[in-house]
Amino acid sequence: MPNIFDLELVFTLIPKLLKYLPVTLELTVIAMLAGLLLGLLLAIIKMKRIPVLYQISAVFISFVRGTPILVQLYLSYAGIPLILKYYNYYHETSYNVNSIPSIFYVLLALSLNEAAYNSEVIRAALQSVDKGQIEAAHSLGMTYGQVLRRIILPEAFIVALPTLGNALIGLMKGTSLAFVCSVVEITAQSRILAGNNLRFFESYCSLALIYWAMTILIEQAIALLEKRLDIDFKSLRKRKGDVILD
């Protein structure tokens, strides 16, 4: 029987793909953190209805939600060098386009995309925090920043966690598009490996297994985090800690 599907190859390819997992993880982690921070900023702009910024952010969010992530990556990859050229022209500088690592274009596009989607989740979570606690914090003499950091965010985080967990999984899978900006992560590597031995299906199978395993890991991590943030669980731990102190 001819060796039409080489099952063994699927598993021997996995370690070769895993060498590029750090790139996938780097893209995921940085874009998520940047997306959360910028998303928080957008959410506050929307809640406080800050003039000018509010309109700009509304257009930005609409644009990001109205265009495919693939197109956004194209725009970033092709557009940033143009901006740099204009900058060089008007400021008589000579920054080199090639000195920008290609991973930057991917991070930019993914972060902005993530920020736009997260901002709505974050806004809803922030607004779900009950007014009474906020009033109590203000009545103690806390500034808005202190109330936000110490009271609103910890509570909103718990509300937003399951949705943000899904966003993280979506983002991790979304990094597979990075190859259009010539960044080699696990998807690009699987295509390179397949091109060498023309075993495309085996290569893609290994790739799929890695994404699947990663997704399950993230799901488990989020579930664990949710459990640790549960009040009854926290209370039990604190009371146990108290016993040790005594």
């Binding site: 009474g132 009033e135 003499g141 108290d242």
Partner: protein, 252 residues
């Protein structure tokens, strides 16, 4: 000493508070009574600027604030010198009883963490909750939550304590423990402004009673004066309803 002059507040076209003048001396336990919508809570919430009055001034010892021209610094300063106990307790849900009391000490008064912990534990012991320090609000009964709320306010050592209907959201059988806690705080010499519907409590604990009606103070005197010899018709009417509820329905 607290001096409020010309405090006025409207919601849309409805005047909730109309040119209120009020002076509270140190150690006074001032109770505000009146029917719903009389402006009692708004008066209280104007003092720490949770509600922003349209006009008027307040002087709290050296701090003088004109409501119409307040700055952010004024607001913070005023809030630091006052503390409020809320009808709905408003404890921080993600924090234990101890952390609830520590929060203001650490963040606002900048007390070192270990010291804040000691102060907080002392105040929780003061309200009889030493065994509930590491419980979260949702693990406490309403009465216990409100006692944490009182400890949180007391720990800030405010110049005046503001109580906004502290027992209205409680089961009848939990009201007593909270009232006892408030009485203890009053006996400890704290200056208080208390909005309450607990008439018999007010009569026993307050040193001064205000009757507020349609945004105006219509009666101001000792509990004895206000409850036994009210001057205005409106007060008599309000208290008549209250006394009727106090009477037994029949006697043998």
């Amino acid at each position: 000493m607290i001096e409020i002059r010309g405090l006025t507040k409207s919601f849309h076209k409805h005047k909730v508070l109309d040119q209120i003048d009020l002076t509270i001396r140190k150690g006074d336990i001032v109770a505000v009574i009146g029917s719903s919508g009389a402006g009692k809570s708004t008066l209280l919430r104007s003092i720490n600027l949770l509600e922003v009055p349209d006009a008027g001034t307040i002087r709290l010892d050296q701090l003088q604030v004109d409501f119409a021209r307040k700055t952010k610094a004024d607001v913070l300063e005023l809030r630091k010198s006052t503390a409020m106990v809320f009808q709905q307790f408003n404890l921080f849900r993600q924090k234990t009883a101890l952390e609830n009391v520590m929060e203001g000490l650490i963040v606002v008064r900048k007390v070192p963490k270990e010291e804040a912990r000691k102060i907080a534990a002392r105040h929780l012991a003061g309200v009889g909750l030493s065994d509930r320090m590491h419980h979260y609000p949702k693990q406490l009964s309403g009465g216990q939550q409100q006692r944490v709320g009182i400890a949180r306010a007391l720990a800030m050592q405010p110049k005046i304590l503001l109580f906004d209907e502290p027992t209205s959201a409680l089961d009848p059988e939990l009201v007593g423990e909270v009232l006892d806690t408030i009485r203890k705080a009053a006996e400890a010499g704290n200056t208080m402004l208390l909005v309450s519907h607990e008439m018999s409590f007010v009569r026993k604990v307050a040193t001064r009673v205000l009757f507020l009606d349609q945004g105006v103070i219509v009666e101001d005197g000792t509990p004895e004066e206000v409850f036994s010899r009210p001057k205005s018709e409106r007060t008599k009417q309000f208290l008549a309803n209250y006394y009727r509820d106090q009477e037994p329905e029949f006697t043998i």
